[in-house]
Amino acid sequence: MGLISGVFMGMIFGIALMAGWRHMMRYRSTKRIAKAADIKILGSLNRDDLKKICGDNFPIWISFPVYEQVKWLNKELSKLWPFVADAAELVIKESVEPLLEEYRPPGITSLKFSKLSLGNVAPKIEGIRVQSLKQGQITMDIDFRWGGDPSIILGVEAAMVASIPIQLKDLQVFTVIRVIFQLAEEIPCISAVVVALLSEPKPRIDYTLKAVGGSLTAIPGIADMIDDTVDSIITDMLQWPHRIVVPIGGIPVDTSELELKPQGKVAVTIVKANNLKNMEMIGKSDPYAVVHIKPLFKVKTNVVDNNLNPVWNQTFELIAEDKETQSLIFEVFDKDIGQDKRLGIVKLPLIDLEADTPKEAELRLLPSLDMLKIKDKKDRGSITVKVLYHEFNKEEQLSALEEEKRFLEERKKLKEAGVIGSTMDAIDGAASLVGSGVGMVGTGIGAGAGLVTAGVGTGVGLVGSGFGAVGSGLSKAGKFMGRTITGHSSKRSGTTTPVNSVQENGGAKPVQ
């Protein structure tokens, strides 16, 4: 009796113990999971959440901007800056100087930093935004501002003339940097980093250039030229959708996915223009149209003499890399002696086009793309275009890529031969400008060879107004500069950009 009751009691006790244990397990487990969920949710609060939690006691120091503030990072950065600047100066000097040497245009014997200091003022990060636009990628937008006081002096030595040091001062950079991290399943988990500047809002990069021991403004137009060159380089190399891809060490990955690739082809037929503005004193304008997607690849129509309603009917093919953000830019110029004047400009975003469907449009010409700068509301006429967008398939894409590469290489070769220059590198541009300056100082004045004349107003120098024997490397450098300017768009109103020759034949020939 005792045994049975004992067994029975024991069994109940044992089962009860186990049940109790399980209860404890469940209890603790749910508690932990609930806490985990809480913490997860508290890791990304928004305004409404916080309102709900805090009720009326909403803390006034909290705000929720699109770009999250990073005061702590700025504090650390300003503390770290002198050391970063020191380290960066050394790295820049070591890595850029060989580059400079490589891009050194003919006529210049040495190109070195004679002073490189990034200054005392640290850059500021106004905000950071993290999003995931694609599976396996993290997109980080950094609102970056730097009103720095760097002092960079580029020592330029040219044959025949004494060296001209050029100083860059008062740099101001306001831009949103987009950094895309390509994720991988191996430590450090990032296989590649893509860096670009967001085009919207437009990057603002201001600086002052000064010739040490002489004024740069003495050479007319040179500051504007440098400005425009740098601007077009940035647009062409860094501004979204253009980007720089940096593979991160250790993991061999295919970064070709990240590179900007030709996505499609746009066949543009420039049909005609109507009611153009008359720019000439005698007779009528001699209009021609220029169209591009990237400033590096520009095409232009024939000049129709003395006509305000010209008909061109010319077709061009342009490569597009990113339908979402790129646009076709149409410009109409008046061919003139000296500086060509711009009659109007208009933008056609590619996103408005449907693939493989021809579209005809009549676009109203504007004085400038920058709406803020438009002052006169006068009608500038219109341009009629037919556009056909064709999306590439894989093979076409590859061949287009090859073509582009070949074109760039050819251009580079020509440049190396000293025949033409293309906008390949910021410093390159600056160097070529210096070259031009030298060319002018050396042979330009009086001789009339390779003369660089300044444009009207904010005009850009035009090469080749002094025709004649251009023999020396110095004047080549001068031309080089001229080429550099012709190969880019001009952003400011009132600046006219002459395109002296068609570039579809693989680069421009020197203007003689």
Binding site: G2, L3, G6, V7, G10, M11, I12, F13, G14, L17, M18, A19, W21, R22, M25, R28, S29, R32, I33, A34, K35, A36, A37, D38, I39, K40, I41, G43, K52, I53, P59, E68, V70, K71, W72, K75, E76, K79, L80, F83, V84, D86, A87, L90, N120, V121, I128, V130, G136, I138, M140, D149, E157, M160, S163, F181, L183, A184, E185, I187
Partner: protein, 538 residues
């Protein structure tokens, strides 16, 4: 009878309880699912006030304290990266654990130990705020508030004697508030030499440990004991002021201190090319050591001489004999215009044997490009004598660790006296009426020292050190520091200006040995100056 019945009763109870435990185990625990589910996360807005109430203790610090910054962008970044990070970490952990397990197993008569599952779960660590401290020292201090409430599933299967047991770790939760100090800051990437990590409070650790399905941690009392044990263990190791030190780079290397002296004697040149139209060339030699900011040195010009003899000596400080080189270039001096380069050559320092004089006859080249055909043309030779003298160990400046704390005064310090070191770091917001080219002037016992001028800068950085040898401690002395500015032009109109001054009582330095502080300048609007003072005694 009663006794036997009681004994039976006890025996029965024993049998009953063990069988009951077994039945209960199979009934309640064995068939419990062992996989870890993702917690269901409801948006906060949908919750009722009761669950919100429970949430309150976990509210992030950035909500509660204004001095914490929100780092939700970092959380988002981590969240997006977490699946990849999880896989990478687990893979690495497995790879590391495998050989260790294989080595240990034979000792314990265990057949196999392996990870059945290993994942850190779907929940990434979150940062509930970031706080930074700004000090006057060369360091960065940040305090992130780290909370990792994870749902990992780590199951280890152990096989021994034909039986298999599993140990499972679930619901790991770690809350900690580490202080991360990056110091010292150095002018070489990544810009800091060491990372110090220490915990400001005892960390909170919670987890479930399931042995064959049963969670040991839910045995009342045991969890508390284990948690306390872990906390004390961790606290013993890393609780502030104890720190975990992670060296990143050698600070002495980053600073690139001089390690030796190079004596260069330019002896002569031979068979130089004629460059001038009239008469012979006028050669001189420019010398430069690479990776140095100093301007190059020049010999005298030997007029109208194609075989000049200079016999001039120059000294260079060497920072890295492995990578540095001496550049020698012969130029043709011109009265007007640019000086022509007649040829050059480079001697890497690693080609020189220390302490041994070596005379080299160098062929002059057009440039250092090996493939340049123009280099084959003879441009003459240059004879140069080199001696590289590395500093002896004892000459070397004291290692960095020692310089952090106050160094010993030099040998010849008088007894009872010492060395007063004044380091003028920087100033902020100094402004002159007409010009701001600030320099600091230090007056101590009638002795005057000056820093270099910084041109047109309201926030000058000097980083200059001055030393005063003293017979007795300067207990009753004052140090007068004045920030002045002189016009950059020959300023007759606006002569010297004082931008502010400060008198520092030195008795504190004597008692503290070292003070590093920012002082507000007197007679200045907002100006501040950072001065470090050290009192070094023998």
């Amino acid at each position: 009878m009663g006794v036997i019945s009681t004994i039976f009763g006890f025996c029965g109870f024993g049998v009953g309880i063990s069988s009951g435990l077994v039945i209960g185990y199979f009934l309640f625990i064995y068939f419990q699912p062992t996989d870890v589910k993702n917690p269901e996360i409801r948006p906060l807005v949908e919750r009722d006030s009761e669950t919100l109430q429970q949430m309150l203790p976990e509210i992030p610090l950035w909500v509660k304290c204004p001095d914490y910054d929100r780092v939700d962008w970092l959380n988002k970044f981590l969240e997006l990266m977490w699946p990849y990070l999880d896989k990478a970490i687990c893979k690495t952990a497995k790879n590391i654990a495998k050989p260790i397990i294989a080595e240990q197993i034979p000792k314990y008569k265990i057949e196999s130990v392996e990870f059945e599952t290993l994942t850190l779960g779907t929940l990434p660590p979150t940062f509930q705020g970031m706080k930074v401290y700004v000090t006057d020292e060369k360091e960065l201090i940040m305090e992130p508030c780290l909370k990792w409430a994870a749902n990992p599933n780590v199951t280890i299967g152990v096989k021994a004697f034909g039986l298999k047991a599993t140990v499972q770790v679930v619901d790991l939760q770690v809350f900690a508030q580490p202080r991360i100090t990056l110091k010292p800051l150095v002018p070489a990437f990544p810009c800091f030499a060491n990372i110090y990590v220490s915990l400001m409070e005892k960390p909170h650790v919670d987890f479930g440990l399931k042995l064959v399905g049963a969670d040991l941690m839910s045995i009342p009392g045991l969890y508390r004991f284990v948690q306390e044990l872990i906390k004390t263990q961790v606290a013993n190791m890393y609780l502030w002021p104890k720190t975990l030190e992670v060296p990143i780079l050698d600070p002495s290397k980053a600073y690139r201190r001089p390690v030796g002296i190079l004596h260069v004697k330019v002896v002569k040149a031979m068979n130089l090319k004629k460059k001038d139209l009239l008469g012979a060339s006028d050669p001189y030699v420019k010398l430069k050591i690479t990776e140095d900011k100093l301007p190059s040195k020049k010999t005298t010009v030997k007029h109208k001489n194609l075989n000049p003899e200079w016999n001039e000596e120059y000294n260079f400080t060497v920072r890295d004999p492995e990578s540095q080189a001496v550049e020698l270039a012969v130029y043709d001096w011109e009265q007007v215009g640019k000086h022509d380069k007649m040829g050059m050559n480079v001697v890497p320092l690693k080609e020189l044997t220390p302490e041994e004089p070596s005379v080299k006859t160098l062929d002059l080249l057009k440039n250092m490009d090996l493939n340049d055909g123009q280099n084959e043309k003879s441009r003459g030779q240059l004879v140069v004598e080199f001696i590289y003298k590395p500093f002896k160990e004892e000459d070397l400046p004291k290692s960095f660790e020692e310089s952090q704390t106050v160094q010993k005064a030099p040998e010849n310090t008088p007894a009872g006296g010492g060395l007063l070191v004044v380091i003028v770091h920087e100033a902020q917001d100094v402004e002159g009426k007409h010009h701001t080219n600030p320099y600091a002037r230090i007056l101590f016992r009638g002795e005057e020292r000056k820093t270099k001028h910084v041109k047109k800068n309201r926030d000058p950085r000097w980083e200059e050190e001055f030393q005063f040898m003293l017979e007795e401690p300067p207990t009753n002395d004052r140090l007068h520091v004045e920030v002045c500015s002189v016009s950059s032009r020959i300023g007759l109109l606006h002569p010297k200006e004082t931008l502010g001054y400060i008198d520092i009582n030195l008795s504190d330095v004597v008692s503290n040995k070292r003070i590093n502080e920012k002082y507000h300048l007197i007679d200045s609007k907002n100006g501040r100056i950072q001065i470090e003072l050290q009192w070094r005694t023998a």
